[in-house]
Amino acid sequence: MFGISHQRREEFDRAALVHIPELLRVASRLCGGADAGEDLLQETYLQAWRSFHRFEAGTNCRAWLYKILLFTYSAQNRKRARQPFLVDLDAAGETALLVDAPTPDTLTAEAVKAAFDCLPENFRTLVVLVDVEGLTYREAAAALHVPVGTVMSRLNRGRGLLRLELARHAPASSSGAPSGMDLSRQRRARS
């Protein structure tokens, strides 16, 4: 038993631990900080270690770990907030606005961070995975266990929403966004 565990441990180290740097970056970005990211990653790896007997050697361990990471992240968020934050983008014709939303000329790190923080969690996750970490749509779909079409649709909305929020956070003179695009205010008014 102990010998088998040692052998499994070596296999796990070889296949899974090499992805720690990348996954740590993603976890920290998703959680908005290194400490929370480390906790999330540790939980992810412990979960992966417990389930390693189900991992098929030779398949994509990185994608498998992403799946566990996002599932764990999502489960943690569910625990934190019993009421999921839902954005009804179809209401008030926001979808059309998102597609057209131009990117402001002047971008600052603060404005980008503020705009990103305004995104709903499921959009934020996809923006991190695809636009920041460079996962393909297919990889992101596999990691989130959703169809590729859902990934594309959520990304469109997330990116559009990000641009609109940027327009709100960017200096007034540099924003090319239509006036009155304060989605946060609109959402608050609707709720």
Binding site: S5, P21, L24, G37, T103, D131
Partner: protein
């Protein structure tokens, strides 16, 4: 493929993510090469991505985190090993209890045969007219069976005790009471139950004391056996004892004596 500005804006992020088909990609590039607005928007979106990466960049120490994770996994592995070890100890204990239970219930398959054989080899060799000699019996009996004859009684109807002694036979050490009368010889054997349970299921006899009697025939002799907590008793006869209550009386007296020793 000719794309207008609206379409180009729609697929611009997919272009940046290298997710466009070859055909759409060519159309996209052709449009951007000719459209200053879309070129500017493409530049802004590239800048946005770069800033996003920069902004969301968190200083991480992968080596430290790797050590932390390895430590947590080792701890978990150790706890599993502990669980497995505890499980093994528990399984061993269960097995030991099962073996002890099984051993306690092992069966002495030769019990009836040996009593019949010793009856032939010993009791049947007493000459006619042998009379009970209390002194001889006291010399030949050993503790704790010294008083077995007193307990059983010297006479039961036509039957009388003619001798009592310790009778070693095939590794057993019987207290052997020889009884004669009505034209036949009886043997009452008592021994410690060290070889396991008596074979076959007993029949319960209710007459005063409750006796679970194993009745069987071996080598042409009738054997009635009773097991107490630590001893077994055998009454061997050449033919059925008449009346049958007499055999039960002899056995019951002996059982009472043995149970007295055990308490």
């Amino acid at each position: 493929m000719n794309l207008d500005c609206q379409h180009v804006r729609e697929v611009m992020d997919s272009y940046l993510s290298e997710e466009l088909s070859v055909e759409t990609n060519h159309g996209f590039l052709r449009h951007v090469a000719q459209c200053r607005d879309c070129t500017a928007e493409l530049r802004r979106r590239r800048r946005l991505r770069a800033l996003l990466s920069e902004t969301l960049d968190v200083a991480v120490d992968a080596d430290r985190v790797r050590a932390r994770i390895a430590h947590a996994m080792d701890r978990e592995l150790r706890s599993w090993v502990r669980v497995v070890r505890l499980g093994a100890v528990a399984a061993t204990l269960v097995a030991a209890v099962a073996v002890a239970y099984w051993a306690g219930r092992r069966v002495d398959a030769a019990a009836y045969d040996d009593s019949a054989e010793d009856h032939i080899a010993c009791a049947l060799t007493y000459p006619d007219g042998t009379a009970y000699d209390k002194v001889r019996a006291a010399q030949n009996l050993e503790s704790p069976f010294e008083h077995i004859v007193d307990a059983v009684g010297l006479s039961h109807g036509l039957y009388h005790v003619i001798d009592a002694h310790m009778c070693p036979y095939k590794g057993r050490n019987y207290a052997h009471v020889v009884i004669r009368g009505d034209g036949q010889t009886l043997s009452l054997f008592a021994e410690r139950a060290e070889r396991g349970a008596l074979p076959a299921t007993p029949t319960t006899v209710l007459a005063g004391d409750t006796l679970d009697v194993h009745a069987t025939t071996r080598l042409g002799y009738r054997i009635s056996a009773v097991a107490t907590r630590d001893h077994r008793l055998f009454l061997v006869s050449e033919r059925p004892i008449d009346p049958p209550d007499l055999a039960q009386d002899i056995l019951r007296s002996a059982v009472r004596f043995i149970r007295g020793l055990e308490n």
